[in-house]
């Protein structure tokens, strides 16, 4: 894919070119996995687990395979730049995706900075061995690491700028060279252990076979050591995240991405196990100690030649592999240092690539500024996302105490993978029947569930061992959440907003609005009557919205033909509303679903009150009032009033059942405003209890209702002109629904509020009012008060999972309806 103009949308699309073959993409994964980890972490991990490091790597391989299957499935079905971030955006609600992208971008950049510094250390050591007088120029190891680190980070930023193909080629060469170096290390190590005199003899004390690997699980380390080593090295196996980040640039992605995920693991896990085998099996304590003395390290007194070699390896640190190689490989130290240089280069290449793609995807989704989504016209690479990512990496290399945030990056990866494991389940449920999967994992959903459990366990295990890392994670997430709430969320909404075809604004713009969707000016008159009265008393403007719905097969611009036909509808409604002497503005929007247009207008116009019409009872399992109204209510946190359409205008008696004083004020306000023209009209509050209430209890109930009218719900007292017209009725009945329904026959309207029985359904009134509406013997008005923001969002979160549960299998009818098809 290259830059394309989308005929349908009429917008210039942004895409990347598909250059990477199965081999290229596998090498990207292998390059990422055999990164600095094998050279830097293996020594330390051996010190934690002893010979059982081999088992730690094997177990990590098994743990990784479960998430690899998830990545293979999603990568084959949604091969777009962004990978895990993108799937979480599709599969999980609210801010999950932003935070996933935010974590992924940062974690990859931290990893990139680590690799750049590792490169610096290896180059410095190489130059020192070649007797280059760096110290004479005042360049010690710390400064040298930074200088060489910044150099290589800049170089790979340029290589990435040249394009995915260039990146892939450079990466392939480096990865192959690196595998060759490790192959030489393993070959000579095995020869030294088993056949020291075969071919030629190098090093002293060989022929130990596997004696140094016994006991396999030392008593000092035990299973805790194995688990610690798993936690320490787990992240090295997650190269498939980088494979899928490149999804948009892969040839035949449906086939090649899942294959690359599995091949990269099949190549890398045995390499890690072999390196561990040779490192612990062949290196000798005495020589390791003398190497420590050579580099001037502090050697604890208890480290003697009799101590097991793996205990000493921990102290040798990132140069452990090089020191071991010096014992049994000709030119071993230089070879491993060269290998380290190559490894850190390819790992840096992969992480720069991956980090850039995440920020590019976030920019395209409006979660980051638009510059992140720009594609270079010649190179077809996201050059500005790359520029800012490179700046982030270089900044960390130069100025940040990087090792302190590295563990935090590990935890962020684990949390990201955990989210992806959840997303694979929700994506199958939401879109399963519409996607062309190139791979479907077996044993679904056991595989992602195992993935979730293992990632969670490792993340918690990290908390036990690296509590400070969790502090960094929480701090970074808090910053991200702030950016999302105050920047990204609005931009995201703006991007998804339905287009406005025509708009007439009032001169007297008010900060808040009363929104009325108008389909038919005749049936909307009652809504306008009520809305205008609310607008007048709450100092708001009245917004009349007409939505032109176009089928999903047609682009939104197809609706322009309907504008002239629709204009009289809005003109007529505006004319009617203007009699109330309140500011009135009109808007005409186009969308595939009317609900979306209403939601977007409510967001744009800061709507406090939303008044909608309802044709009557809907008997569908999956809806409460109706799919459109349900959707609007779930997405818009406003005072919502839904009026059943009815020709009768004159109102003499309104019944307001009140189960809970807290939800009464809005219903009373609506009843009061509807009765404004009729001073003799009656408004009866009805409270049904299973047991008789005492006069004191009744008095208390009344007081509470008025207390809420005064103090709660954002000043609805202003909407109630005369409280003396309310009369309270208390009745005793075991079946309150039946009692209310029977009473409703004597009234012109019944006003129903949200029910208390189903917390997560309260956004859409609840099933009890819906059942009451069915049984009522007069037209119904539903009211739902606006809720505190946090509560609304929490309900949103739980509602998401509830809906998924209801949707069931994606092939069923219910699923299709949920998608609006």
């Amino acid at each position: 894919m290259s830059n394309t103009t989308s005929e349908e949308s009429g917008k210039t699309g942004v895409g990347l070119s598909r250059d990477l073959s199965l081999f290229d993409i596998t090498m990207i994964g292998v390059g990422a996995m055999i990164g600095a980890g094998i050279f830097v972490l293996t020594g330390e991990a051996a010190g934690v687990a002893g010979p059982a490091l081999i088992l730690s790597f094997a177990l990590n391989g098994i743990v990784t395979i479960f998430t690899a299957m998830v990545y293979a499935e999603l990568g084959s079905a949604i091969p777009e730049a962004g990978g895990g971030y993108l799937w979480i955006k599709e599969g999980l609600p609210g801010s999950n995706a932003f935070l996933a992208g935010w974590m992924s971008w940062f974690a990859h950049a931290v990893a990139g900075a680590l690799y750049a510094l590792g490169f610096g250390a290896f180059v410095y050591e190489l130059l020192r061995m070649l007797e280059v007088p760096l110290l004479q120029y005042g360049i010690d190891l710390t400064l040298g690491k930074k200088i060489f680190g910044v150099f290589i980070a800049t170089t790979f930023a340029y290589i990435n700028f040249r394009g995915a193909s260039e990146t892939g080629k450079a990466g392939n060469i480096v990865t192959i060279l690196k595998v060759i170096v490790i192959g030489i290390f393993c070959f000579f190590g095995l020869k030294f252990m088993f056949f020291p005199d075969w071919w030629f003899s190098f090093g002293e004390g060989g022929g130990m076979a596997t004696s140094q690997l016994q006991p396999f699980i030392p008593d000092e380390t035990g299973w805790l050591g194995i688990l610690s080593a798993m936690g320490l090295t787990f992240i090295a196996f997650e190269g498939y995240e980088i494979i899928v980040q490149a999804g948009e640039e892969v040839k035949e992605p449906r086939k090649n991405i899942p294959k690359a995920v599995f091949w990269s693991l099949a190549i890398v896990v045995p390499i890690y196990m072999l390196v561990a085998f040779v490192l612990v099996g062949a290196s000798q304590s005495e020589l390791l100690i003398s190497a420590l003395h050579t580099i001037g390290a502090d050697v604890p007194a208890q480290l003697t030649a009799e101590v097991a070699n793996w205990k000493i390896l921990r102290h040798v640190g990132e140069l452990g592999l090089a020191r071991a190689a010096a014992q049994f490989v000709p030119y071993g130290a230089v070879l491993i240092l060269v290998g380290g240089v190559l490894s850190t280069m390819s790992a840096l290449n992969a992480t720069t690539f991956s980090s850039t793609r995440v920020s590019f995807a976030m920019g395209r989704d409006k979660n980051l500024p638009d510059v992140f989504a720009e594609i270079h016209p010649d190179k077809h690479t996201p050059h500005l996302a790359l520029f800012w990512t490179a700046c982030l990496i270089i900044f960390m290399v130069a100025f940040v105490p990087i090792t302190t945030v590295a563990a935090a990056a590990d935890i962020m990866f684990l949390l990201l993978f955990l989210q992806v494991n959840i997303a694979v389940i929700t994506i199958r449920k939401k879109y399963g029947d519409k996607l062309a999967y190139g791979y479907l994992m077996p044993f679904y959903p056991v595989v992602p569930i195992i993935g979730i459990v293992t990632k969670l366990a490792l993340a918690l295990f990290m908390f036990d061992h690296y509590p400070i890392a969790w502090v960094y994670v929480i701090a970074w997430l808090a910053v991200g959440f702030g950016i999302y709430r105050f920047y990204a969320m609005d931009r995201e909404r703006e991007k998804e907003a339905t287009p406005i075809l025509a708009e007439e604004k009032t001169m007297d713009v008010k900060p808040n609005s009363v929104l009325i969707p108008v389909a038919n000016p005749e049936t909307s008159q009652q809504h306008i009557d009520l809305g205008a009265r609310i607008a007048r008393l709450s100092d708001s403007q009245l917004v009349l919205l007409h939505v032109i719905t176009v089928p999903s097969q047609l682009p939104p611009r197809a609706a322009t033909d309907f504008v002239e036909k629709a204009r009289p509808i809005l003109d007529k409604a505006r004319e009617y509303a203007e009699q109330y002497d309140v500011p009135v503005s009109t808007q005409m929007r186009v969308g595939h679903k009317p609900a979306d247009a209403i939601i977007h207008t409510a967001q744009d116009k800061n709507t406090e009150y939303l008044i909608m019409g309802w044709k009557g009872a809907v008997h569908k399992k999956e809806t409460v009032i109706g799919s459109n109204i349900d959707h609007v209510l779930k997405e818009s946190n406003t005072h919502a009033i839904v009026m059943q359409q009815n020709g009768q205008k004159a109102l003499n008696r309104i019944l307001v059942p009140v189960a809970n004083p807290e939800t009464a004020p809005l219903g009373l306000a609506v009843a009061s405003l509807l009765m404004e023209d009729n001073p003799k009209g009656k408004i009866d509050l009805l409270h049904v209890t299973p047991d008789e209430m005492s006069p004191e209890e009744k008095g208390e109930f009344k007081d509470k209702v008025f207390e809420f009218v005064r103090e709660k719900e954002g000043g609805q007292e202003a909407l109630i002109a005369d409280k003396s017209r309310f009369s309270f009725n208390f009745i005793t009945s075991k079946d309150h629904e039946k009692a209310i329904a029977e009473r409703s026959g004597d009234y012109d309207r019944i006003v129903l509020g949200t029910s208390q029985d189903e917390f997560f359904r309260r956004k859409v009134f609840g099933k009890t009012p819906a059942r009451l509406a069915d049984q009522a013997r007069c037209p119904v008005i539903f009211v739902r008060p606006k809720q505190p923001g946090f509560k609304f969002e929490m309900q949103d979160f739980f509602q998401f999972f509830r809906e998924l549960e209801e949707m069931g299998h994606p092939n069923n009818e219910n699923s299709k309806k949920q998608q609006g098809n």
Partner: protein, 92 residues
């Protein structure tokens, strides 16, 4: 990316093919389960062996597990893609 974005990026199958693809895996599940069991058994052998021959037999079996797992999965990928291609070819 929204539902509309996925549509715009041609991620979805053409609407006439919705529901045509089965969501069951094309991977040979009994064989894959066998390989996973082999992987777990190999790890158990590594532990039981205590650094003796059984440990290294376990390590060797683990390599067998990895490659057989990859082979079975790749065969599943081929089967799955053939199925998808057949559905898409109906349009040509």
């Amino acid at each position: 990316m929204s539902y509309e974005d996925l549509e715009e990026h041609n991620i979805f199958l053409p609407e006439e093919h919705w529901d045509e693809l089965d969501l069951s895996s094309s991977v040979n599940q009994p064989l894959l389960l066998f390989t996973i069991i082999l992987g777990l058994v190999s790890c158990a052998l590594m532990v039981i062996g205590g650094g003796d021959a059984l440990t290294w037999i376990g390590a060797g079996l683990f390599f067998v597990f990895l490659y057989s797992f990859t082979w079975v999965s790749n065969a599943g990928i081929e089967n799955q893609n053939e199925t998808v291609d057949k559905v898409m070819e109906k349009d040509r």
